[in-house]
């Protein structure tokens, strides 16, 4: 029994234990006699106990086990097919730049460069040509200024638009296509 010398710490703890046990012994009053019947009455009107989250989870898992297996197999198949398609597409993309990059840009680049240049040129040109033609018919005494005005108005616009259209389009399309 007394092999070890008593530890003062253990003696302190023993005192705490004694104190707690004494307290528990002092608080031993019985419940009121009607407490159990009151509790039973409360339980009688209480709703039925729920299944509990473990039971619910187990039921859910059990219910889903068979369909889940089929779904999992379908999902694996879908993933496999999508993966194969993606790999094939990547391989195609990796091969494409070596075979067909050089011919395609020259084919594509002229069409956008040509389209902007004609569109500005027709719209300004009809309006100046119509107005000078009407003015000479009304007053033939002034033939000289009207053609010169019409020439001044007409000539710069198409020439500028032609120059800028062709030059600008070519400059822009060239390096752009080259970079791509």
């Amino acid at each position: 029994m007394n092999r070890r010398p008593p530890d003062p710490m253990d003696a302190d703890l023993d005192r705490v234990v004694d104190e707690l046990e004494r307290y528990a012994a002092a608080e031993r009053s019985e419940p009121p006699p009607d407490l159990a019947s009151r509790i039973r009455a409360a339980v009688d009107v209480a709703p039925d106990p729920g299944p509990g989250w473990r039971v619910s989870l187990a039921t859910l898992v059990r219910a889903w086990r068979a369909p889940a297996r089929g779904l999992a197999m379908a999902a694996v198949l879908v993933v496999a097919v999508v993966g194969a398609l993606a790999v094939g597409q990547l391989i195609d993309q990796a091969r494409q730049p070596n075979v067909g990059t050089s011919p395609s840009p020259p084919v594509v680049s002229p069409t956008p460069s040509a389209s902007p240049s004609p569109s500005p040129s027709p719209s300004p040109s009809p309006s100046p040509t119509i107005t000078p033609s009407e003015t000479p018919s009304e007053s033939p005494t002034r033939p000289a200024p009207s053609p010169s005005e019409s020439d001044e108005v007409e000539t710069p616009e198409p020439s500028e638009s032609d120059d800028s259209g062709s030059g600008g389009g070519g400059d822009n399309s060239g390096p752009g296509g080259g970079d791509d």
């Binding site: 710490m9 703890l13 707690l20 031993r28 419940p31 407490l35 473990r54």
Partner: protein, 191 residues
């Protein structure tokens, strides 16, 4: 069949527990009859007020009834109920407004009033100090101390009720007592 399956250690018949878990209210009524006194005393030791102890005892049984199917047969039904009851009691204690704990003087005070009222009041104050000291313990020490001393469970029962290894429970109890020591010496020193 299971009506006669009671013993001092609490409900131990699996047939009764099965019936209770199946939602059999009559079986649960027997459980209430058997365990009310133990649960009430544990609540009273934590709360110190008979009315609060009655309320929390009823609450604990209702919670137990609602969640009866979550009870696993690893520990005793009494341990499971005590765990619910002590937790509810500490919750009620934390919600209580700080006030003079007149109820804790209770019937002993009235009975001994003609004898030595001063001594009775001092003893009531000491009990209040012990309750407060245990309530201030952090978890899991508080739960282990409460189940062991207020619920009067053995350490093995505490271990099975809490689902912790016995050695862990012993360690928790020792640490809980060590933390209580400075608080309890104040009570002892006053004597």
């Amino acid at each position: 069949m299971w009506e006669a399956a009671w013993h001092d250690g609490g409900v131990d018949d699996t047939a009764l527990i099965d019936a209770v878990q199946a939602g059999d209210r009559r079986a649960f009524g027997l459980l209430v009859d058997q365990e009310t006194a133990v649960i009430y005393r544990a609540c009273l030791r934590i709360l110190g007020r008979p009315h609060d102890a009655e309320d929390v005892t009823q609450e604990a049984f209702l919670i137990a009834f609602r969640s009866i199917r979550t009870f696993r047969n690893e520990g005793s039904m009494r341990g499971w109920l005590l765990r619910i009851a002590t937790r509810q009691s500490f919750r009620r204690l934390s919600q209580r407004r700080p006030s003079a704990d007149l109820d804790s003087v209770g019937e002993p005070f009235l009975a001994d009033l003609r004898g030595e009222p001063t001594r009775v009041v001092v003893a009531a104050e000491e009990r209040r100090e012990i309750r407060a000291a245990v309530a201030r313990l952090p978890e899991p020490y508080r739960e282990v101390v409460a189940l062991r001393f207020f619920g009067e469970l053995s350490l093995a029962d505490v271990a099975s009720a809490t689902g912790r290894p016995l050695n862990t429970v012993k360690t928790h109890l020792r640490r809980g007592l060590e933390r209580l020591r400075p608080l309890m010496t104040t009570v002892e020193g006053d004597r």
